[in-house]
Every structure is written in C-alpha cells, then in structure tokens.
Symmetry: C2
Subunit: 202 residues, 2 copies
C-alpha cells in the first residue's frame, strides 16, 4: 500500500492547512511541489488527478485523488479530536470552512498571492475592493472570537486550521491586524497547539 | 418547540438549495423573506443571527442560527439518503460543494445577480472575466458528468443540489449550456427527482 501523496505548493495557505493537520495527526506522506506560478497545476498529468487544476490534491493510499483543501481536512480529521462528533458542532465547523472559502480566501489570500507573484500592478484596480472585503471578513472573525477561544465548541478544530492558514499571513497581503485583538489572541492560541508547524515547513 | 425558520430570498440559488432539500425531506419550516437588494440582511436584528449578513440562515428549533447554504444542507441531510455514509464519498460530496462555492458561484451566480439587480452596467468591466471562469467551471462539471449520472457515488445527493441551484439558471446570467450536453442531461435527471420544486416555489 502506497503512502498518502500530497500535491502541494509551499507558499499556499490552502496547502498549509493539509500539511499542518497531517503533521498534527502524525501521518506520513509524500509531498510533491508544483509551482502554480509556472503552470505546473495545468499539465495533462495533474489535470487527470484534479480537473479543476488546483493544489492541494491528496492522493489516497488506493490512488483516489481528493481535492479542495477543506474537504481534505474533513476526510483526514473524521474520527479524530480535530473534528467534533456532535451534529450541530460539525455543521458549525463547515459553516466556518465555507465562510473561509467564500468570504475570506478570495480577498485575503488572493491579494497576498498577487503581491507574492509580482502581479500587484496588473490587479491594481481590483485591490481596494478585495482589501475592503478582507477587512470585513476579519471583522466577522473578531466579533465571533471576542467571546470564544476557538471557532467551534471551545476546542481547536479544523475550522481553526482552515481560518488560521491565511489569517496568520494576512500582513503579507498588506492587511493590518492591529485593530483585531481577539483575532491576534486566537492566532497565538492556534500557534501554541501541540505539533504546530509554520507555513514554510513541509 | 418552535419549527425551523429559514431566512431566505426567493431569487437566491443558495436559498433554493435549502428550500429544495427541506421540501424533499418533507420538513416543515417557516420562511422569512429578506430582500438583499434593499439591505434587509444588514439590519442589526439579522446580523445578530448571521454576523456575515447573508441568507440563507436556518434557525434551528432551539434558536441556534446556522449559516452558509452548504453547511445547512449537510446538517439537514446527515443520516438521510441525501448524504452518503461512506467516509470517502462524504469527502467527495464536500469536494464538490467547496468547488461550487469557490469556483462556480462567484462567477455564475454573481453575474446572474448583477443582471437581476440591474447592476450589469456598473460591473461591465468585471463581467468578461467572471464569464470566462464560469465557463471553466461548467467545463469541469461536463468532464466529470460525461462519465457519471450524479456527482458522487452514482446517486442523487446534496452535492447535486448544491451545483444544480445556480447551474439550472445559468442562462439568466447569459451562460449558454448548448456546449455542455452532459451537464444538461444531469440537470434533467435532478429535476426528475421525487418532490423536486422550482426555484420560484417556497
């Protein structure tokens, strides 16, 4: 039986989510780096695994590919302490993971990526609106976290991993977290979890 | 014990997902219509239920609000025929639901909404790129459905509901499905499911 194989890109917060959980679960895996800025996720070979042409993509022991970072987190976390067992809490974990992909990542992660890839000038006219909506997402998180230690059930879960990934590097996209003290305290709590690793570590 | 209460907007495909599943599950609920074009999801009263200010929001029997259409689908479908029980199939349902929210809805639904709300002129410069990415999403669906009857496990599930909602009204956003025969055949299969209702029916 082959090990898990993760198609990944080290700069990616979406990839980091999966790396972080795999490390915290003490799961062995092979990592294959694809440079998305060089079209390496658009080759016929990779598109056969994920027709949507995106990393991360986790290839399971039997060869089945699974795409979408938060779906991969769910698959790996099922039956572990990183995903609650109660029906409502599980739906709340999903609520925050869908919030992350719809209301957070397209603004906070995308602006960071543009800056990283030297595309800031090309997207100059789109950046103010993306920044506005990113700050709006941080405001929603701040309100929620001002009364809670973690996103769901007062316990570290994959909802926290999903939202930590791009929030902790939001400054690389020019987002200032000074006005979001509850978010900053939560970032510190997440970073203190056992077997935490930085985004730069594979 | 109160009934389920759905904060909704009849035009919304995200709202329709929940209405359709509730109807197919034969669950009774109270529906409260909020006109998102008139700011009715940004009132202090509604923001107390969903700080992200979006419909749909389902208020459970005990008063707990649950947001994000696909998280609501998951909550309602758990333990029913609309959500598989196998670990991998469940993760694949999530894969397609995250695909829907990240790679489909922001293009196909948003262009339709702009046209519906008379905002086409205001967003004229953004529409070509949104159309391109919407067509790309339809291409990913076409490739997948060309070999399958439904998105996951050859059975109608909430993955199909999530993707049907905005795909079946894509033409209202100016998307032409002529070149996507497998998508069109799948739309027909979904519409033939027992207790199907149209988007205009509450």
């Amino acid at each position: 039986m082959s090990a898990l194989t993760l198609y990944d890109y080290l700069v990616s917060g979406n990839g980091y989510k999966v790396r972080l959980l795999l490390h915290q679960l003490e799961r062995a895996y092979e990592r294959i780096e694809l440079d998305i800025t060089r079209g390496e996720t658009r080759t016929p070979e990779f598109l056969a695994r994920n027709p949507n042409g995106r990393i991360p993509c986790l290839v399971l022991e039997d060869g089945t590919p699974l795409a979408e970072s938060n779906a991969i987190l769910w698959y790996l976390a099922e039956g572990t302490a990183f995903l609650p067992s109660e029906r409502l809490a599980r739906a709340q974990v999903l609520q925050w993971m869908f919030f992350e992909q719809y209301s957070h990542e397209p603004f906070i992660a995308v602006v960071r990526f543009w800056i990283h890839a030297g595309l800031e000038g090309e997207h100059a006219d789109e950046i103010p609106e993306r920044r506005r909506r990113g700050v709006e997402a941080l405001g929603v998180m701040e309100a929620h976290l001002s009364q809670r230690a973690f996103f769901v059930g007062e316990r570290y879960s994959i909802a926290d991993i999903a939202l930590y990934a791009y929030t902790h590097v939001a400054h690389e996209g020019g987002f200032d977290l000074t006005g979001f003290p509850a978010v900053r305290a939560w970032l510190a709590r997440v970073a203190e979890q056992p077997r935490h690793i930085p985004i730069t570590q594979s």
